[in-house]
Structure formats: structure tokens, C-alpha cells
Amino acid sequence: MNGFDYHRPATVDAAVAARRAAADGAYLAGGMTLIPTLKQGLAQPSDLIDLGAVAGLAGVTASGETVVVGAMTRHADVAASPEVRRAIPALADLAGQIGDAQVRNRGTIGGSLANSDPAADYPAAVIGLGATIRTDRRAIAADDYFTALFETALEPGELIRAVEFPVPRRAAYRKFSHPASRYAVAGVFVAEFGGRFRVGVTGAGPCAFRLTALEEALALGVDPAAADDVAIDSSRFNSDLHASADYRAQLVRVMARRAIAALAGR
């Protein structure tokens, strides 16, 4: 690990200012990706801006319409949150399936979304629920947020404050876990908002995306078989040691079918 200057600001403004002043700064949230990357020398920031002491970034607030999850809220806290469990139980389920207990106790929703790992779980919910990413300077719609592999719409230094999830009538998430890492090889989040459906897919492509063909099929009826016939274009899917693009397409179909079946029971 190379040397760096360490900052522990107390406010969002101070954090953003520290980042702006740094030659090559990096925000540190839960550190579940950044710390191993630093240890391997793959990231060598000049400054590390620890968000752990920034006031107001952690916690869940729920209204009838929305659930707002602060950027520094740990996965374990989302999984256990009574507000989340009541309003969007599928989101709590998803958080409870991320990584392992150690990761869930350290990792944060803001860190996960800023990193935009193609196999992370949260992006499926952000897309599937049509969430809004609230940053220090603006609000970004889910559909505009994920742009490419490890790329998002965030500008340099832009800091996520919270994620605002609309409360659906019902929702479900099913994932196929990587046997070693427990990342999503394919994860499908299905949500219904008064007859209108959204389907978010993670793990399969370079970044999370909507499966609009399935959304349209579901509008005609909540039937797991809808997933069997929907077209899935795997030409840009990830293909690696553990799963080829073809196999990922199959997994998307199976996870979608299972998520729809779960949805039908809610």
C-alpha cells in the first residue's frame, strides 16, 4: 500500500472540498472494494477522504411514498431496518444477501453504487425500483445513473448523499450467487407500481440494466412463464471463468421466473 493523506471531514461540504483540493483523491465509505484495491497497489490515491464521520449520511427514513437510505447506511442495517422491511421487504432481502456477514457489516449502499461493480446487488434494486440517486449537487434518475463497466453518471468528486426508493405495491429479488465470492452472477429485481412493472438486472451485463421486454410482458399478466419467452440479448453480457454469456442469459431467465413467482405470492 502506498502512502496517502488521510482526511476525516464532519460535513458533506468539507468532504467535497477535501476531494476537490486533492491531486487524486478518493472517498472511503465501507472500504470493501477500495481497501483491497489499495493493498494490492491497484489504486494509489494521493488523499483518502473517510466519510465515516460525516453527519447525516447514515440511516433510513420512510414516508408512505418513498424509502430514503443514507449513503453511509451499512447493508446489515438496511437488511434489519423495520422501515425497509415494512415498505420494501425485497430491498431488505437483497441487502441481507450481499457478500458475507463481514461485508454486510462494513459495506454501504453509497459505496456500492459509486463503485458500480457489474456483479453488485444494489444496482438491481435501484433500476428495478426506479430509485433516485441524491448527490451533493443534484438528483440522478436510476435509468441515467449506470453508464458502463464500473462507470456511473457521477462527476469527479460528486458525492452520493442518499438513495430514494419509491415504494412499490410489491417487489421481489432473486440472485444466483457466485459460488466463491457470493457476488451476483445474475440477479433480477422485479417491482410493480400499480399495474406498471420494472425489472432490473445485475451481474449479467457490464452494468445493471432494465429488461423492458419483460416489463411489458408482465403488464399483461404476472406469470413466471413470461420469462421463458422474453427475448434476452446476451451479445454484450459478461463472459468469464465462471459463467459464459449464454449461461448468464439462462440465469437471468431463471432468476426472473423465480422473482415473478415470488412476486405473485406477495
Binding site: 500500500m1 494490492q40 497497489g41 444466483f176 459460488p179 466463491a180 465470492s181 471463468l241 465462471h242 459463467a243 459464459s244 449461461y247 439462462q250 440465469l251 431463471v254 421466473r257
Partner: protein
């Protein structure tokens, strides 16, 4: 005898310190003035080292020194030897590439160390290692086993990258058997490369005293005396009596810590060079790259059968990956620990095996839990199961028809072993009962009703353990004997200290050996201490591997206790004014037969050290030692049955049941034995379903972390059902055979037989990953 004697489920005394964080592992040991080492490793699978510039590294803060392979060579250190000579068919010796501890002219696998930085802190050492500037000339690599023979030649003096071309058995008899066969079953498969991943990575702390010219090397070794022998007699580090090797608590080895490695060697040398203690602890990434890997075979195997399903002959051709260099025992694993086991539990009359040992630009491959025997079992048991399916015979029934029968022992196989005892059908029948084989068809129907597929698979394995009769091993090429030493030292107060040349790195020797000695001497279990893992305290030893500790090490301890009893009889006879021949010893009491005269063991011990009136021919003291050389291998065997349910949508294999019925001979501590079986099965299931060490075509290790290399976890496994049958070993005093490797040997074939049964396919590559299984189902 007591609740702690032989056969009792005594809780492991060492676990208290392990589970309360008070173990004493190498990295826990620190000494004044110690420095830290970090290695500079090759990023290329094969390259010429053009130049190494350590100028910037040496100038970095806190750096004590930076050294290259040339520095060690200049001091006459190295090369690292291979301890087993294997000869090719034509009688020629195997080809041995020079393996300097730190590479000098060329690097031959990714992660091979070629320089070391020594600094005041681990961080400074790592920074210095990263600051070493090296110019390489990249060379084409032979990365894969399949392409090794025709690939770029790795070592200048070894054409075709071939170490040896070995054979065993009667080729002509096998030809004749196949000529008259009514059915031949043929399989081609790989035995997947595994990476050991002991929970404690390798570590070393070397201290050198300029005053006495003595080294003390604390290190993670499964056999510290062998490390001392190799580092002194072969590597030229120091005279043997000037090196003490201490292997304190060691967190697992599975074979990977048998060997003498470059890093520990360089650390020891560096301690003298810099005049300060040097410490090194591998991180997990280094462990993946540089620990000796396991398995990695490509095999074609054929079984010839008669019309009635009698095995007539077996023909096996294997390419074995040895990696870039010969690790300490690498040459023996795919030959004498593999080809000799191909008879399995059966009366196959003719067997011929050919093995090509090939070098590749990958980490060295050597013994890993089971070492050759899992590979042999996989060949035999996949063939037998496949033959049964092809002939439409129940796989259990085909095995029954071909088992060596209990009245046929001792049984000489066509591949150089003499099995002393066994009852294979007894284990199989018990396993069939435990697994409710009769109810399988109904369970399969129930699975199918839920859209799942269900399969059942058998593995009736045998292993040769209790390594090894020295005379035979040396005839076959071993460079060392394979006996074991044991010393029983009775203290004046009657407590006992046992010194064993076996080494515990998780197996529970401190409990098992104490049970044996307590039982045999009638001394309370709590008063028996077991010492191992220190060349300064234990006279000699050959360590722990090959399920040898109780069969060989325990036998040495038994012999020493017998000498203690004999001496005790002489002492008590003198004290009680009787003849030693008239003294009986039972449950800790020496008694003169036919009288009420007796002495307790404690009284005899005290008398031995306070010899008030000993005659001239009776020496004081009560301490005896023994070297035990086994007369034969031991042959643990058993029947494993796996049952799986497969999700055809995703290809996920759910191992729903695993039954293991093993014959380990007599059992000292059933709880420890069950623990060994559980761990072994977990590793075997890992090989079958999850683990795979993969180098890409360019020679880079692409499964170099737990993100990509999948270790088995508790939730991948069912609750195992384990049981035993007993045919005592005929040639050692305890009747024991060894249990440490059985699970890893038996499980892979059982699981793969179950998976292929569920899928209705002839073969499937390990690991049976979800995508492989799904693809196999698409092709059916």
C-alpha cells in the same frame, strides 16, 4: 481402562489454546531485533532475467538489504533437491532441473522468487521489493499440461519437457486381457489442479548466532527434521548440528508444508547475511502463487471385462503436471503413490500404467491430501461405475463380483503391493444400509416430481498409508528412510513426556499419543505430555503425511513404552527382591506374581531417579526410545456413497447425502477420526464440485484469490454420516491403518458418479460447476 484410554472419545487437549486464540504459530513468535523479508516475484511464466537493479530499493527508508539469486549462489546455497528418484521405462534416471532458491538466470513460473528485500518493517520490505527494477526478456511459455510435450522447452537440458516416462505392470498380460474381453469401458478425463490453502500461510523466522554459528529456524513445516536434513546436507546452509528447526503450532498443511521451499531457505540464509533475525509470513496471494499445488493429471483409462462382468485387465495412461521444477517429493506422487493403487479393492489380474511426468511453466505440483491415491481412486471408481452402467448391472453388484475376498489376504496385486487385510464387501453393505440404497428409486421419483434430477454414486477406495517400509521405499527411489522415532521419558514424579518425530498440524497428536501412552503405562492422561516439532528436543523424525502418524509414529511410541515397562520390571524386581520374570505389569502396577508385593508406576519412577541401592547392572533413570520401521504399508479402505440433487434450470448440484463407511483398523480416538474423515470429505467434495486452479494460455494464474478459487464451505455440505468397519492391520502393534486422507481420496469419485448418474451422462469434468452441469444437460 479409564475414560481417556485407547478407543475413547477424548476431547482434543490442544483445542483449548487453538479456539481461544492462544496458539503459538510461527508468526506469533517475535525476537529482539528482527527484520522482515519480502520477496520479488516473477510476473512472467517464463523469462530471462536480463538485469536486476536494486539500487533504489536499497536506498529506500528502513531497508537492511536486498539480495538476488546470485548472492545465494555466491555463498554456495542451493539448489533445492527432489527426494525421490524415479526411473523411466528405459532405465534412465528422471531429469532434474536445477532449482536455485532464488532464480538466477531465468524465471519459470509466475510468482517464482528471484530477489528478497530485508527491512525494519514488513511495509518497508514490501516497498523495497516493489522498488527493485528488473529487465526481463519474455520467453514463450509451456503453460498447459496438454501442450507441454510439444511446447517451448523450459529447461535447456530437458527435451520435450519430460521428466520421466514411467510404467508399472505387465503390458503383455494387459494386451491379452483386452484381446479376450467381451466389453471395454474407456474414459478420458482430467484430475483438476488444486491449490492447498491451509488456513495458516507459510511463515519463517530465522535467527543466527554469530557466537555459536547456530541457526534456529522457526517455520511452518510438517517435518522439521527433514527440513533440517535438506537445508544442511543438500542446500549447504550449515552443518546439520548447527541448525535447529522448530515448527510450533502449524495451521494445516495437507501436504503443502512437507516440502522445503525457496522462501524459507532464503530467509534462513539472510539471517546470517544481515546479522539479524529475519521473519517472513506469506500473504494469501503469495500462498496461491507459490505453495506447491496438487493433482493436475490428464488420463485415458480402460477396463476390460468378461461377459459376466469380471474385471480382466486395466490400462491407464496419464500425463502428470509437475510444474516448473521438481518439488521435494513431486516425482513420487504420480508414480509410486498412484500407479500402485490401481488395483483398488478388486481382483483385476492384469494392470498396466504409463505415466509421463511433464514440466510446465506453472507452480510446482507435489503431494496434496491423498497424494496420488485420490487420482488412482478416481480412475478406478469412475471406470467401475461407468462399466456397471454400460453393462446394465447394479454398480454395487458389479463391485461385489470383483472384490478381493476376506480369505484371499495377504493379497498380492499386479501393481507391486501386498494388501495385508480387509473386508471390502462388509464396508459396502454397511454403507448401502446407511444410505438407504433400497429407497433411492423412490427418492429419485420424488425429486423428479419437483422438476429436479437425482443421482447416487459409489466410491470403494483403497489407499496405501503408514508410509513406509524404508527398505522398499529406498528400493523404489526414496532418498530417505520412512521409519519414525518415539521417546518416552518418565520423569521422577511419574509424569511422562513423550517425544515423537511425527508432527501435528491439526491432527490432534497431543491427545491421541497421550491416550496411547496413558493406556499402556497406566499413567493418568493429564500426566502425559507430547512434544513434537522441534529438532532440538526430538531426536529424529520424518514428520506427518501419508496418514502415517499413528501407524508409524504411534508404533514407535508403543515400542518405547514396552521398553519402559521392561525396565520398570527390572527396577521393581530389584526393589521387591524378585526376578523380573515374575513381575507382571497391569494398569500402572508392577506386582510379583503369586504374592502381594507390588509397586505403583510412580514409585518405580521415583526409585529410578533415587537409586538408593541399585546393583551395578541396573542403570538409574527411566527413559527409552525406539525407531519403528513398518513392515508394510497399511491399507485403509472403505465405501463412500454420495447422493445429489441437480437443478436442471441452473445446473446447481446439491449434495444431499454423504455416507462414509471406512475401515481404519483399530481406532484410538473415534471423535478425532470422525473429524479427520469430515475434513477429508469436505476437501474431496471441494475437488468434485468447487475447486479448480487455472492458469490461462499465457501462463497467468487466474484463480489467485478466494474470489475466484472456491473453497468448500459449511453450507455446501450435508451433515455427513460416517461409520466404520474393523479389520485390524496385521503388522503393527496397535492394529491401526490411518485415517487422515480417506475422505479426500474417496469423495471425488463418489460425488462425480452421483452427478453423472443424475445427468445421465458418461463423464463430466471436475469441478462439476453449475455451468458445466447445465451445459451437459443441454447436450443430453
Amino acid at each position: 481402562m479409564s475414560e481417556t484410554g485407547i478407543g475413547k472419545r477424548v476431547k482434543r487437549r490442544e483445542d483449548v489454546r487453538f479456539i481461544t486464540g492462544r496458539g503459538n504459530y510461527t508468526d506469533d513468535i517475535s525476537v529482539a531485533g528482527q527484520t522482515y523479508a519480502a520477496f520479488v516475484r516473477s510476473p512472467y511464466p517464463r523469462a530471462r532475467i536480463v538485469s536486476v537493479d536494486a539500487g533504489a530499493a536499497k536506498a529506500a527508508p528502513g531497508v537492511v538489504g536486498v539480495f538476488t539469486g546470485q548472492d545465494l549462489a555466491a555463498d554456495g546455497i542451493g539448489p533445492l533437491p527432489c527426494g525421490w528418484m524415479v526411473k523411466s521405462k528405459d532405465g534412465s534416471d528422471m531429469k532434474i532441473p536445477a532449482r536455485p532458491p532464488l532464480a538466477v538466470e531465468r524465471v519459470n513460473f509466475v510468482g517464482e522468487p528471484y530477489a528478497v528485500a530485508i527491512a525494519e518493517t514488513p511495509e518497508a520490505a514490501k516497498a523495497a521489493a516493489a522498488a527493485v527494477e528488473t529487465e526481463f526478456e519474455e520467453l514463450p511459455a509451456a503453460a498447459s499440461l496438454a501442450g507441454a510435450a510439444g511446447g517451448p522447452q523450459i529447461h535447456p537440458d530437458i527435451p520435450g519437457n519430460r521428466c520421466y516416462d514411467w510404467e508399472l505392470g505387465d503390458a503383455a498380460a494387459v494386451e491379452a486381457a483386452f484381446a479376450r474381453a467381451s466389453h471395454v469401458t474407456r474414459l478420458e478425463f482430467a484430475n483438476n489442479r488444486l491449490i492447498p490453502n491451509a488456513i495458516e500461510p507459510r511463515a519463517a523466522l530465522a535467527v543466527y548466532s554469530a557466537a555459536t554459528e547456530e541457526f534456529t529456524l522457526h517455520t511452518t513445516s510438517q517435518n522439521p527434521h527433514l527440513a533440517r536434513l535438506i537445508l544442511t546436507a543438500f542446500v549447504n546452509l550449515a552443518p546439520e548440528h548447527k541448525l535447529r528447526v522448530i515448527s510450533p503450532d502449524v495451521g494445516g498443511g495437507f501436504g503443502s508444508k512437507i516440502f522445503v521451499y525457496p522462501e524459507e531457505t532464503a530467509v534462513a540464509w539472510a539471517a546470517r547475511r544481515v546479522g539479524r533475525p529475519v521473519k517472513w509470513t506469506a500473504d494469501r496471494s503469495e500462498a496461491f502463487l507459490s505453495d506447491a499445488h496438487g493433482r493436475d493429471h490428464l488420463t485415458t483409462a480402460e477396463l476390460a471385462l468378461s461377459e459376466s462382468g469380471t474385471f480382466l485387465g486395466m490400462r491407464v495412461r496419464t500425463k502428470a503436471n509437475l510444474g516448473a521444477y521438481l518439488s521435494t517429493f513431486a516425482s513420487s506422487v504420480p508414480t509410486f503413490l498412484y500407479g500402485t493403487l490401481l488395483a483398488g479393492q478388486y481382483r483385476t489380474p492384469a494392470i498396466h500404467v504409463e505415466v509421463e511426468g511433464l514440466f510446465t511453466n506453472t507452480a510446482p505440483v507435489d503431494a496434496y491430501r491423498g497424494a496420488g491415491r485420490p487420482e488412482a481412486t478416481y480412475v478406478v471408481e469412475r471406470l467401475v461405475e461407468t462399466a456397471a452402467r454400460e453393462l446394465g448391472v447394479d454398480p454395487a453388484e458389479l463391485r461385489r463380483r470383483n472384490f478381493i475376498q476376506p480369505d484371499q489376504f495377504p493379497y498380492e496385486t499386479p501393481v507391486a503391493l501386498v494388501y495385508d487385510t480387509g473386508n471390502y464387501q462388509a464396508s459396502l453393505e454397511k454403507a448401502l444400509q446407511r444410505a438407504d440404497y433400497a429407497g433411492f428409486a423412490a427418492r429419485r421419483r420424488e425429486s423428479e416430481a419437483r422438476g429436479k434430477r437425482r443421482g447416487i454414486g459409489f466410491s470403494c477406495y483403497i489407499e496405501a498409508c503408514g508410509l513406509a517400509p524404508s527398505q522398499l521405499a529406498i528400493q523404489l527411489g526414496a532418498g530417505v528412510g520412512l521409519y519414525e522415532s518415539g521417546e518416552v521419558r518418565v520423569n521422577p514424579t511419574g509424569s511422562v513426556t513423550v517425544f515423537t518425530g511425527s508432527h501435528s498440524h491439526g491432527q490432534g497428536h497431543e491427545t491421541t499419543l497421550a491416550q496411547i501412552v496413558s493406556d499402556k503405562l497406566g499413567v493418568p492422561f493429564e500426566q502425559v505430555e507430547v512434544v513434537h516439532g522441534d529438532t532440538g528436543r526430538v531426536e529424529f523424525g520424518l514428520g506427518t503425511y501419508g496418514s502415517r502418524s499413528v501407524a508409524v509414529g504411534g508404533s514407535a511410541v508403543i515400542r518405547a513404552t514396552e521398553k519402559i515397562v521392561a525396565k520398570g520390571k527390572r527396577i521393581s524386581a530389584h526393589m521387591l527382591e524378585a526376578s523380573p520374570d515374575d513381575v507382571d505389569f497391569d494398569e500402572g502396577v508392577f506386582a510379583v506374581r503369586g504374592t502381594n508385593k507390588k509397586m505403583t508406576f510412580g514409585e518405580v519412577a521415583f526409585a529410578a531417579y533415587v537409586p538408593a541401592s541399585f546393583p551395578d547392572d541396573l542403570e538409574p533413570g527411566l527413559s527409552e526410545k525406539s525407531f519403528y520401521d513398518p513392515k508394510n504399508f497399511t491399507f485403509p479402505a472403505g465405501a463412500h456413497i454420495a447422493e445429489v440433487e441437480v437443478d436442471p434450470d441452473t445446473g446447481v448440484v446439491d449434495l444431499v447425502r454423504f455416507v462414509a463407511v471406512d475401515d481404519f483398523g483399530e481406532v484410538i480416538n473415534p471423535m478425532i477420526v470422525e473429524g479427520q474423515v469430515h475434513g477429508g470429505i469436505a476437501q474431496g467434495v471441494g475437488q468434485a464440485l468447487l475447486e479448480h486452479g487455472i492458469y490461462d494460455d499465457a501462463g497467468q494464474l487466474v484463480t489467485g484469490s478466494f474470489m475466484d478459487y472456491c473453497m468448500p464451505r459449511a453450507d455446501d455440505l450435508p451433515s455427513f454420516e460416517v461409520d466404520t468397519t474393523v479389520t485390524p492391520c496385521t503388522h503393527n502393534p496397535l492394529g491401526v491403518k490411518g485415517c487422515g486422507e480417506a475422505g479426500a481420496i474417496g469423495a471425488p469419485a463418489a460425488v462425480m458418479n452421483a452427478v453423472t448418474d443424475a445427468l445421465g451422462v458418461k463423464d463430466l469434468a471436475m469441478p462439476a460447476s453449475p455451468e458445466r452441469v447445465w451445459r451437459a444437460l443441454q447436450a443430453v
